[in-house]
């Protein structure tokens, strides 16, 4: 049974728009434009180049649409800050090494309390790594990466459809909380073609009014947006304000899915592409009679700590599967607080294992733990 506020909302808003077959990167770009994004700033890096390519074409055909291929990732994230200060819906996209460069701006967006959507179609690392799909940017995305006490909302889609839906959600969340939102995909999701239904386009005039934006001090007192707060007392209060916001997000914006978890004796925890593979593996072992389910965090921050903790009252055996050397597994361990045994299986470097491979790991663990 799925915990499904997100899916429920999605199905309600379904229109009769026909499905289109699209590449994941194009899906993100099209969904962004439909969500009211009129400003895109980026810098080429594989495997996400189809996003800026699509945006350059799409935004040039819309009144007020702005696309700039910046001189660097650093410049592009600061252009994002400028357009966000002006009140626009704005996006940038990149992959691991480029996101590293954007961290300065992401910290500033957080401190300045500005909305923006940042897409990471991640690849193998560290360093230049490679251009194959990997999930090794989990820490970077969920732990901030930049300086200072801040959090970014991180959404991890696992399909073309979710790329579309979560991109819409990302813009709404960014505006609602005045905070940057990261969409953490990978090279697989960005390159894969799948049938997708888009939500209807939001007219720009229906977007929320931003009474804090910099538009020129006409008919109102002048405004400034800044993150420099020299007085320690004031800076502490600013940090408390951010913390209260993050606590509200952690309470209200959790997104996760449970699959075949009701009677499970063992749970696999995975996100994004890995969760897609894990689902196939779970279906496979279920056919063999193994009582195994899947928990898929969709919001990586906020992380569904309580949901996992609640499951650990019934289930004592967990397998965390990631396409990295073990990053989300730390959050799973934190969530369980020792209330369950965790086995980690990871394939880093751009290797994408098959459901069969993962099902063998599950089966082996299942019998080792004498669950069947």
């Amino acid at each position: 049974m799925a915990f499904a506020p997100f899916h429920a909302r999605r199905s309600q808003s379904r229109s009769t728009v026909p499905k289109v077959l699209m590449r994941g990167n194009h899906v993100v770009a099209e969904a962004a434009v439909r969500a009211g994004c009129r400003f895109y700033f980026g810098y080429p890096i594989t495997p996400q180049n189809e996003i800026p390519e699509y945006m350059s074409e799409r935004l040039s055909k819309i009144e007020g649409g702005v696309f700039i291929q910046a001189e660097s990732e650093i410049a592009s994230i600061h252009m994002v800050i400028g357009a966000s200060m002006a009140g626009g819906r704005v996006m940038t996209s990149s992959s691991g090494p480029g996101i590293s460069l954007k961290q300065e701006g992401i910290s500033f967006l957080s401190g300045l309390e500005l909305p923006a959507v940042i897409v990471n179609m991640s690849r193998g690392g560290p360093g230049l790594g490679n251009i194959a799909p990997a999930q090794s940017d989990y820490f970077q995305a969920t732990r901030g990466g930049g300086h200072g006490d801040y959090r970014t909302i991180v959404l991890a889609p696992n399909s073309g459809q979710e790329l579309a839906d979560l991109t819409f959600e990302a813009f709404d969340l960014a505006d609602k909380y005045r905070t940057p939102v990261v969409i953490l995909g990978d090279g697989m999701l960005g390159q894969m073609m799948e049938p997708v239904e888009f939500r209807p386009e939001i007219p720009i005039k229906k977007l929320p009014h931003k009474d804090w934006a910099l538009t020129g001090a006409k008919g109102r007192p002048s405004r400034f947006i800044r993150s420099l707060i020299l007085d320690p007392g004031e800076e502490e209060e600013h940090n408390w304000k951010l913390m209260r916001k993050y606590e509200k997000i952690a309470r209200e914006e959790l997104r996760w899915e449970a699959f075949a978890a009701d009677d499970a004796k063992m749970l696999v925890v995975a996100f994004g592409t890995a969760a897609r593979i894990a689902k196939g593996a779970v279906k496979r072992v279920r056919e063999q009679g193994l009582k195994v389910g899947l928990i898929r965090p969709i919001s990586l921050w906020p992380f569904p700590f309580k949901a996992l903790r609640d499951f650990s009252k019934k289930v004592k055996h967990f397998i965390v599967f990631e396409m990295n050397m073990g990053q989300m597994v730390e959050d799973v361990r934190l969530a369980l607080e020792g209330g369950g045994e965790v086995h980690f299986y990871g394939r880093p470097g751009g290797i994408v294992p098959t459901p069969l491979e993962v099902s063998r790991v599950i089966t082996s663990q299942y019998y080792q733990k004498r669950l069947g």
Binding site: R38, F39, F41, V66, I68, A70, E71, S72, I74, A75, S76, H78, M79, V80, I81, G82, A83, S84, M85, A86, G87, G88, V90, E104, G105, F108, L112, L214, T215, G216, A217, K218, G219, S222, R223, F224, I225, R226, S227, L228
Partner: protein
């Protein structure tokens, strides 16, 4: 009684935190006067830098959005592209614009962004305590060029405005100073012209202002003003470096 001299409307009633003899206070006032005279207060947005002028939003009574160190030209690009009918200017020091923000600045100029940059060159990192700047001249003593800047050890100062004048997208580049009444008037005219260039949509405009920093230069304010004339201008000559606005008489 008729007031003949008062604070510009676009400056708030707040005492400047700048050191005695610092050029920033003068330059803030000059910009405030230009904004008033051109009637821009309701449609101008300023981008202060990281550096001594980071608190500029405490002084200007206009919309302002703070940039991180060196990124003002990129931030201003985003603002201006989103609001093309507003006037957007950055206010940056030499370290901000000519070291850490070189790429952002050169590319904003190359794209011909319709923004104006006020580049305050005092040849030191003032806020952090007087370290060597990209524009510290050869022989200049700073806390990180002991014994004076030496080309073998520290490299040469960078003439960013000359480089920006080469960029095809820049429309107007002038170097002035705020060390004498006549130079102050020239600076005011240059800033007004830069804003006009932006209003016309002619491209990137920049006014570099040589500005005294008596505290870090370890001089009296009077000596600092003299040092600009006698020493600094030899490396950074004053004048119009580029004028593609059709106003031919200014071209060297």
């Amino acid at each position: 009684m008729k007031k003949v001299f008062t604070r510009p409307k676009s400056l708030k009633s707040a005492p400047f935190h700048y050191c005695p003899g610092c050029g920033h206070s003068l330059l803030h006032r000059i910009i405030g006067e230009v904004i008033d005279e051109m009637g821009l207060q309701e449609r101008i947005i300023g981008v202060p830098p990281a550096g001594c002028a980071v608190l500029a939003y405490n002084y200007f009574d206009i919309d302002m959005g703070e940039a991180s160190h060196g990124r003002a030209a990129a931030l201003a690009t985003g603002l201006k592209r989103a609001l093309p009918d507003r006037i957007v200017f950055t206010y940056q020091g030499d370290g901000d614009i000519a070291a850490i923000g070189t790429a952002e600045t050169i590319h904003a100029a190359a794209r011909g962004e319709n923004i104006t940059t006020i580049f305050v060159n005092n040849g030191v990192y003032g806020m952090t305590g007087g370290q060597m700047a990209p524009t510290s001249i050869l022989g200049q003593n700073t806390t990180t060029s002991p014994g004076g800047r030496k080309e073998k050890r520290d490299g040469f100062p960078i003439n960013l405005s000359e480089m920006l004048a080469i960029a095809k997208g820049s429309a107007y580049v002038e170097r002035t100073a705020v060390n004498s009444p006549s130079n102050i008037l020239k600076t005011k005219r240059a800033i007004a012209k830069a804003f006009q260039v932006q209003i016309k949509g002619a491209g990137f405009s920049l006014v570099e202002v040589l500005s005294p920093c008596p505290t870090n230069w370890k001089m009296s304010p009077v000596e600092a003003c003299k040092w600009i004339d006698e020493v600094m201008t030899a490396s950074f000559p004053l004048g119009v470096l580029k004028d593609f606005t059709g106003d031919k008489k200014d071209v060297h």
